[in-house]
Subunit: 243 residues, 4 copies
């Protein structure tokens, strides 16, 4: 018998990447020098960016020369509820391979927000702001989600045990069930994602993302900053406008 699990995290792990600030410098320099200036043998010993390199990256970001940021790639393993995937997959400049509800029996893990997730929406469509929920409101959310997830997952199992196809049985499952996927994006697409799916002080264009996809973006940003610190700094400095 399966026991439902209730979780409040979003899991983002870096599977692999081929991404460093030098990618930007070298691909941009081909415009003005016309030569293949990159030599990885040398790079491994001395991949320090000069001030001129850093200035170039900032210039490209500021002037919205986006293509030099397309040669750096990140592949993530992400585990998130379906309602997050629904938003994530609207980003068409990315590659996805997601767990299939047609091919495999889904695991009973469901998202329930943590206590300090803001629950009350104020303001108007397109610019909602969120406020804390009361204890009572949180209890309602938590209880409703838990009970409904257990009930619907029981029905799911019953249908499967009675020989109903997985793709039919899953129709009963709620959108807070977890699903996992491989996601590959280049640095330019990633910055576009960050600019739209985070609400951060200092960004030129405000965004109003749902908190749960913002959690994905926050984790993406940490990984991005770690591997491409100069590019990330230029992104932040220039108002988090994706080039």
């Amino acid at each position: 018998m399966h026991q439902a699990i209730f979780s409040d995290y979003i899991d983002v792990e870096l599977v692999k990447c081929s991404a460093e600030d030098m990618d930007v410098v070298f691909s941009a320099r081909v415009s003005t020098e016309g030569e293949r200036t990159r030599d990885y043998g040398v790079m491994l010993e001395d991949n320090e960016l000069s001030d001129r390199d850093k200035g170039l990256i900032n210039f490209l970001m500021r002037e919205r020369h986006g293509t030099p940021f397309e040669h750096s790639y990140f592949t993530f393993y992400v585990k998130a509820p379906i309602f997050v995937w629904r938003e994530h997959m609207r980003h068409r400049i990315a590659s996805y391979n997601e767990e299939s509800g047609r091919y495999k029996q889904l695991e009973p893990e469901f998202y329930v927000p943590e206590r300090d997730r803001k629950l009350v929406q104020v303001g108007k469509p397109g610019a909602y702001e969120f406020e804390d929920g009361s204890n009572n409101q949180y209890a309602l959310v938590s209880t409703s989600l838990r009970r409904m997830c257990e009930d619907t997952y029981s029905e799911y199992l019953k249908l499967i045990m009675n020989g109903v196809a997985k793709e039919v049985a899953r129709m009963v499952l709620p959108v807070n069930i977890y699903s996992s996927a491989y996601v590959t994006m280049n640095a330019r697409s990633l910055m576009n994602f960050l600019s739209l799916r985070q609400n951060v002080e200092g960004q030129t264009f405000p965004s109003y993302p749902q908190r749960e996809i913002e959690m994905v973006a926050e984790r993406y940003e940490e990984i991005f900053e770690y591997h491409m610190p100069v590019t990330h700094a230029a992104f932040v400095k220039n108002g988090r406008v994706s080039p």
Copy 2:
């Protein structure tokens, strides 16, 4: 009080299109003639394709010259359950505007398969075949879905009435709830969709779509055939391989 509605249809309506076989002919002819040969004033009086025009369309399809099929556009209004949208939006060469569960309260309309929907899956992953379900199996599916939809929608309403944000309350809703969207695709993307989301005799590459997205594809195909009959015939004749 809202009363849940259970439906077994997929709604596809053509909102608008700018799509006719002549689009293909004229855009392809620019390659060999280099002139703007299209004159809409003349076209309106005489838009009959010559045998040479029809031969050209068949040639382009057979030789996979895909770009001339990109100048014809269809905008659809589609109403389908969320699990269909999940598959549909994997098609990145399309434009979508979907109903928002963050901005509006979702209507209690849910998909329940009709009696003759095949319910039993045999074979192996990637090449499943489906067989009829028993009366008992169908009753189980229908009963489970109806009860769970009513229960979860009640919880959804209760959360909203208690001041919980719509984007949180909706986490409890199942993937068979209907959602609607505007979808715009060009004829090339549409043929790609048809080739992957239908299982039709005579197609060169077999596909194993879930029945409900195949219903979307069937309706798209009727509209496509109506507006671009020569292109559609060439698509079918050439094994339904998207160019």
Copy 3:
């Protein structure tokens, strides 16, 4: 015998479009209303936008909600020199069918800038500014181009007359020879093109386009403004930042 023609224009003609401000309103409204609100029978009699509609378009532009601008399409016939096409085709979110130098003998029409085209480049890479050329400089440009075009086109013809394949003979031709293409873009891609390929007062992000592709953009903009005046006004009002 072919006589070379020297021209200083860029030809942009609208072949067809399915583009009006109401497209934006209707596709955006599906988010909040979830219904197909568009009814073309009614539209034809009364397609006046209300103040609320206009406000919605401005809101979408300002908040960078780009997808509602993807359901409006323009197909252009464009005739421009090859060096312009080289830049134009870097825009990947568009559909192209171009005259083929492999399938047809190219016509001897060549671009020579008009007298008041600024010829002198000052400043530094990425932010060049241009100044008027002297009479002597213009005479040099005009004479060089004319003579080289005549010479190379003669060689081109000679090679073809001696049985050399067109795709080989064309290697001798200069990048100012004209070529024509069908180009299809949606309104969102078009605004992106306008924001990058024009240098207009009041734009939030400066651009430094080559004059000849700016001429294409100017003509696109006129057509865009004519068919989608409210969308265009919102684009201009919001600093010509593509949503």
Copy 4:
């Protein structure tokens, strides 16, 4: 004084890649296993594919499940004449950074076909075949190209020395001048390129590429085969149809 160089090669070098057969296996397995199965620590010691892994890759290729091939990336440095770039950049699912004729003075290196390049085109548009040229034809091609390249490059230099902007001066240059670029593509896009830009025995859909872009494809294919041998073998086995 610059001396023109005449070359008959296409240069393709791998700058970097993150591409191995295991990428395909791991991203595909997430569909059926829903777990992050990749662990690079283990991989480095034992990255041998099992027969089951190889079978999976062949299955994905045959059934046209294209997305698992999108997580492997190649960045190339390519040096080729402009007429090759014109075709290459029609492939929109790739990232490009090319040498700029606006920012730098172009080097006088020009493409002249080698003696055994087939020069005579027979058959009809869309399915041309090529035959050997005579000595006389080759001499004509070689002489014309060399003389015109020298003449036009002299004019180019003269204009620049007289203060004319590089972006104007370059209008006189022919399409066989070399230009270089960084090109990044994933394995799926790369197979699409190979299927369209090579004419190889055994391919399901014939292609009729210009020889010079086929030279690019041939070199890409060597690199692809080296890094993803199982994927490459499956591509060839399945008629070189891109998934």
